[in-house]
Amino acid sequence: MLKIENLTVEYRRDIEILKNVSLLVPENMVTAVIGPNGAGKSTLVKTIAGLIRPKRGSITLDGVRIDGMSAEERVKHGISVVLQRRSVFPQMTVKENLMLGGWRIRGDKKALDDVLEDVLELFPDLKQRLALKAGSLSGGLQRMLEIARAMMSRPRFLLMDEPSAGLSPIMVRHVYRQIDILRKNNVTIFLVDQNIRQCIDAADHVYVLELGEIKGGGRKEEISESLNNLIKVWLYLEQS
C-alpha cells in the first residue's frame, strides 16, 4: 500500500502547489484523483514518482519511506510512471523503447523475453509495429507504448498522469480498457485525469483535489454527499 502523508510541494519559493496532501492507495485497486485544471494533480504524480522533491511530508510504500529516493531508485521498489507529456524515445524503435523499459531486469535474458511476451499480449497493436520508430506512431499508439514500456519493469504500482490527454474519444476508451486489464492483472493503479467520467468509472477509490488540497475521498460508493454533488457538477460541465 502506498501511503501519502502531509505532502507539501512548493514551486519556486512560497508558492505551495500541494498543501498537506494525505491519501491512501490500496493494493490491487484503481485510485483516482480528480480535480480542475491547476489543482496540482500532475505535481502529485510527479512527486510520487520522484521527479519532484516535496518540501514536507512523507511517501511510504509498504512501510518503506521512498520520498528521499531518486526516481530511478523508486523503479527498483516497484513504481512505474506514465507521464502526461509525450515521452517515448522518438528516434528509437518500438522494440528498443520496450527493451529500455526492461532496464531493471536487463541482466536476465529469459526474464526479459518473458516480460516482453507478456506485455505484447496486453498490447497487440504494438506487436505488429516493433520495428517502427516510436516518433512516427500516432498519439494513441505512443500512449500505448508508454504504458507498455512502463509495464516492462513489472511494477506493483503504476502511476498515470492524465492518460487520456490529447487523445480522441475512441483512444481514451481504449486506454481505459487497458487500465482495466492491468488492474485485473494485479497491478495497483494510481491515476489523475481531467476526463472525469472515464476516470471515475474505472476507479475503486476516488479523491478530489482542488487548489492543492484534498477535499475528501475514499471508496467510490462511500463518497460524501457534498463531494458527490461537486463531482456531479463537474460531470455536467464536462458534457457541455
Binding site: S70, V75, L83, L100, W103
Partner: protein, 295 residues
C-alpha cells in the same frame, strides 16, 4: 591523361578525405556531451590539445612509440574527464550560463596548465613514418593521415555499434532523447552522464593523440578545434555518427580548398565562414528537431 592542375585538385581532395575522418572524431566528443547533458563544453578543444601534449610527453619521456602511446592517452583522458565531471559539472547550478562559464573556467585551467608545463613554444612529434606516404599512381597519401583516418573511422564505428547495439549504449541514447523519461524507467541518469562525459573526453583523447602525429601544436590551439567541432555539429546534427563523418568531410574539404586558394593563414577562417553561412541560411536555429532546453 590528367593535367597537372587536375592531379593537384584530386590530391588535395584525397588529403581532405583522410583528414575528414579525424575531424569527425574531433566532433563526436562535443556531440556526446551536448546530446546527453545539453551542455556545450567550451573546453572540448582544450581537452583534445591536452591529450596531444600528454601523448607527446609520454612518448618523449619514456621513449615509447607514439602510436602505442595514444592507447595510454585514452584512459588518461577519460580519467581527467571523469574527475572534471565530478568536481565541476555535476550539481552545477541550474542557471543557463553556469555550464558555459564553468567550461570556460576549465578552458583557462587547461590552457594555463599546458603553458606552465610545456611553455608556448610549438612542439611536434617526429616518428619514422612522419614523412612517409603511400604512393598510388600520381597521388601521395601521407601515412600519418592515413593512420589517423583509419583509426578515427574504426573508433567511430565501434562507438556507433556500442550506442546502438548494447543496452548501456541505448540507455545513453535514451538519456539524450528524454532524460526525465529515462529516469522513470530506472536508468541511472546521473551515472550515465558521468560516464558519457568520461567517454567524450576519452574520444577527445584519441583525437588529440592522433593530432600529435599530424602537426605542430601549442597550448592555445584548443578553441580552433572547438570551432571545428561546433561547425560539424551544426552541419550534421548530433544524433547520427555517419552524418558526423559527412560533416567532417565537408569541413576538411572546405578548409583544404579554401587554404589552397586563399592562403594557408586563412585555413581556420573557413570554419567560421561555414558557420556564418549556416546561421544565415538556417536562422531558426541550429540543431533543429532537437528537444530545446526548457526556457
Amino acid at each position: 591523361m590528367l593535367s597537372g592542375t587536375e592531379v593537384t585538385y584530386i590530391q588535395l581532395f584525397l588529403g581532405a578525405i583522410l583528414l575528414g575522418g579525424l575531424y569527425a572524431l574531433v566532433a563526436i566528443g562535443l556531440a556526446l556531451i551536448f546530446g546527453v547533458m545539453r551542455i556545450l563544453n567550451i573546453a572540448h578543444g582544450d581537452f583534445i590539445i591536452l591529450s596531444t601534449y600528454i601523448t607527446y610527453w609520454l612518448s618523449q619521456t619514456y621513449g615509447l612509440d607514439p602510436l602505442l602511446t595514444i592507447f595510454l592517452t585514452i584512459p588518461i583522458a577519460s580519467l581527467v574527464g571523469f574527475v572534471t565531471y565530478l568536481s565541476v559539472i555535476r550539481g552545477l547550478t541550474k542557471s543557463f550560463e553556469a555550464p558555459i562559464v564553468s567550461s570556460f573556467g576549465i578552458l583557462l585551467i587547461l590552457q594555463a596548465s599546458m603553458l606552465i608545463a610545456w611553455s608556448g613554444d610549438p612542439r611536434s612529434i617526429v616518428t619514422p613514418f612522419t614523412a612517409e606516404s603511400l604512393v598510388i599512381g600520381p597521388y601521395l597519401l601521407p601515412l600519418v593521415r592515413l593512420i589517423a583516418f583509419i583509426v578515427s573511422v574504426a573508433a567511430l564505428t565501434l562507438l556507433h555499434v556500442f550506442l546502438n547495439k548494447t543496452y548501456f549504449g541505448r540507455a545513453i541514447k535514451a538519456v539524450s532523447q528524454d532524460s526525465e523519461a529515462a529516469s522513470t524507467l530506472g536508468i541511472p541518469v546521473s551515472r550515465i552522464q558521468s560516464i558519457t562525459f568520461a567517454l567524450s573526453v576519452g574520444m577527445a583523447g584519441l583525437a588529440g593523440g592522433l593530432l600529435s602525429l599530424l602537426l605542430s601544436f601549442t597550448p592555445t590551439l584548443g578553441p580552433e578545434y572547438l570551432l571545428k567541432a561546433f561547425v560539424i555539429l551544426a552541419l550534421s546534427g548530433i544524433g547520427n555518427i555517419p552524418a558526423l563523418l559527412v560533416g567532417g568531410l565537408v569541413l576538411s574539404i572546405g578548409e583544404t580548398y579554401g587554404s589552397f586558394f586563399l592562403g594557408s593563414g586563412y585555413r581556420n577562417v573557413v570554419a567560421y565562414i561555414i558557420l556564418v553561412l549556416i546561421l544565415l541560411l538556417k536562422p531558426a536555429g541550429l540543431f533543429r528537431g532537437l528537444k530545446e532546453r526548457e526556457v
